[in-house]
């Protein structure tokens, strides 16, 4: 019998190993864009913030904390993806022809 916690722990373990393998292959050229990309991805915590803020009968405290959390996460999502794209656009193809 697997509890939900066990399943989640398995998922955590597998995702960590997968992450380590995938990231190890990222070229050092792209370490800065990689960091801003993972930053944007981890702002997926916005989902949690929405659930807290949007819960029925949420207290003012919940709404205020959730509001700040959504604002911070959305700032990360928007600026993270846009700046990653802006950086990646700068990496010119070999040969340097424009």
């Amino acid at each position: 019998m697997s509890t939900d916690l066990e399943i989640t722990l398995y998922i955590f373990m597998l995702a960590t190993f997968l992450g380590l393998e995938v990231i190890r292959k990222v070229s050092p050229l792209l370490h800065t864009p990689l960091m801003s990309l993972t930053n944007a991805i981890s702002a997926i915590s916005v989902v949690g913030a929405i659930m807290i803020t949007g819960a029925q009968g949420a207290t003012t405290l919940s709404k205020v904390l959730g509001f700040i959390a959504i604002t911070a996460a959305v700032t990360n999502i928007v600026s993270g993806y846009l700046i990653t794209d802006r950086m990646l656009k700068m990496f010119k193809k070999p040969g340097g022809k424009k």
């Binding site: 792209l30 801003s36 981890s42 604002t71 928007v78 340097g96």
Partner: protein, 462 residues
């Protein structure tokens, strides 16, 4: 509807994984942003539609403000300020996770719902990591922006204070896990986490920023991951774990590139150690004018340029590109040698040089280029210091002994653009500068490269 969203989440998670996978080459990297955006969009829209969401006015206003702040940051921020922006986004991400944890804790208490241990443990981890990463990242941002002193701030008993503080915070955390109804402990726990974040970063010097930024990245990810455990959301667990492992790998790479351990970076106060060690004596060096430098570069058939943080500070990357173009036109083979910890965050130099339109196949990592220095005519060091110091190879008493360096000293001729002979940030004398084949080019990197450029076309015409 609520169960459909679980399938949407699975797709989102798959897109995030693909997004990171496509980052392994600049050719597929643009696609990776698209995949990430799509995954995010699906997750957000799915959440909004699937759950009975109330308080729309709060949520939409927050989205609006976040977008209004995020767009200008992405477009106005100069590339030299990317390390600061990254630190800021670690702070934002960590704050979001910490606040969600806090809100969840108070929500449960308000409804007299006793949170079970398997929820309280990740909740405490989420808030601890979230709050300490929030203030820690703000400190790192202050140091990078030079609002705060870049030198390590140390005092006696610092590590002891930090350990004690962390111990108290952890103890309170455990107490809360056992007695979740003791709400009065929570603000103290949160406060201590915030203070600990500040104290953790204060003793860290500018040269260690690449490791610390990567480590904070990892913490922010793990905090989001813990949130997934609290809310029972597996997609959050996956996205957080990916971010956490990414930060971890980067910090391991950075540590290896400095031949140091995590503990040493966090508790060693590197800069301080080195200042105590510095013994700067006046020794003669050979210096050269821009004219001489230009004629040496003109006569060379291969040149390796070694950029460092100094190039970023002087904003010299565009002048360096002009030099690169001019030399390439003359048939000189020009390559760039980039040390993993050059600059203030992983990959910092690559982004600056790419911004200046230098094709990325000309940018080489340390392992790929080191064997080529012996055959190269001129190594031109622009604003790099410790990563070129041969003492790291030979001098067992040097604080940087054992650190992998770029073998600049093996080139036929070495030229170093440097503002003065003052030892740099780390305060260690660089043996490279006193070698017979080394020419010191004293001046601001941007101005000096500009002057070399002025000399070059004149020679071409002659």
């Amino acid at each position: 509807m609520a169960h459909i969203v679980s399938y949407v989440y699975i797709l989102s998670a798959a897109l995030f994984i693909l997004s990171l996978k496509w980052m392994n080459s600049p050719v597929t990297a643009r696609r990776s942003v698209l995949a990430g955006e799509l995954g995010m969009l699906m997750a957000i829209v799915g959440t909004l539609l699937a759950f009975k969401v109330f308080n729309w006015e709060w949520i939409l206003t927050a989205f609006f403000i976040g977008t209004a702040v995020g767009v200008p940051i992405a477009y106005i921020m100069p590339m030299t300020a990317v390390p600061q922006r990254t630190a800021m986004s670690h702070a934002c991400g960590a704050l979001a996770a910490a606040l969600v944890g806090t809100a969840e804790f108070y929500r449960a208490n308000q409804f007299h719902e006793i949170l079970p241990t398997f929820v309280m443990v990740p909740l405490m981890l989420e808030t601890l990591l979230g709050f300490l990463t929030f203030t820690g990242s703000l400190m790192a941002m202050g140091k990078l922006q030079e609002v705060l002193p870049q030198r390590p701030i140390t005092y006696r008993g610092q590590n002891l204070t930090n350990f004690a503080l962390f111990g108290i915070a952890a103890g309170l955390g455990v107490w809360l896990i056992v007695n979740p109804a003791q709400t009065w402990i929570f603000p103290i726990f949160a406060g201590l986490s915030l203070v600990f974040g500040v104290l953790l970063i204060i003793p860290i010097g500018g040269a260690d920023m690449p490791t610390v930024i990567a480590l904070l990245n990892s913490y922010a990810g793990l905090s989001a991951c813990a949130m997934g455990f609290v809310l029972g959301n597996k997609m959050l667990v996956i996205a957080g774990a990916l971010d956490g492992s990414s930060g971890l790998i980067l910090s391991i790479i950075m540590c290896k590139a400095m031949n140091r351990s995590f503990t040493n970076v966090l508790f060693g106060a590197f800069g301080q150690l080195q200042v105590a060690h510095a013994h700067v004596e006046k020794r003669p060096v050979r210096s050269a004018t821009p004219e001489e430098a230009a004629s040496i570069l003109d006569a060379a058939s291969s040149v390796i340029i070694v950029p460092g943080y100094g190039m970023a500070v002087a904003q010299a990357q565009h002048k360096v590109r002009e030099l690169f173009d001019s030399l390439m036109r003359r048939g000189v083979d020009v390559k760039f040698a980039i040390h993993p910890v050059a600059g203030r965050m992983p990959g910092h130099m690559n982004v600056l040089l790419a911004e200046a339109d230098i094709p990325y196949d000309r940018l080489y990592g340390m392992e790929d280029i080191n064997s080529e220095f012996a055959q190269c005519d001129v190594a031109l060091v622009i604003g790099a210091n410790d990563v070129t110091n041969p003492a790291a190879r030979t001098d067992k008493t040097s604080p940087i002994y054992g650190m992998p360096i770029l073998d600049v000293d093996k080139a036929h001729t070495v030229m170093v653009i440097k503002r003065s002979m003052n030892p740099g940030f780390a305060g260690i004398d660089n043996e490279l500068y006193y070698m017979d084949k080394t020419l010191m080019l004293f001046g601001d990197a941007k101005t000096f490269v500009g002057e070399i450029l002025k000399e070059l076309p004149a020679r071409a015409a002659a």
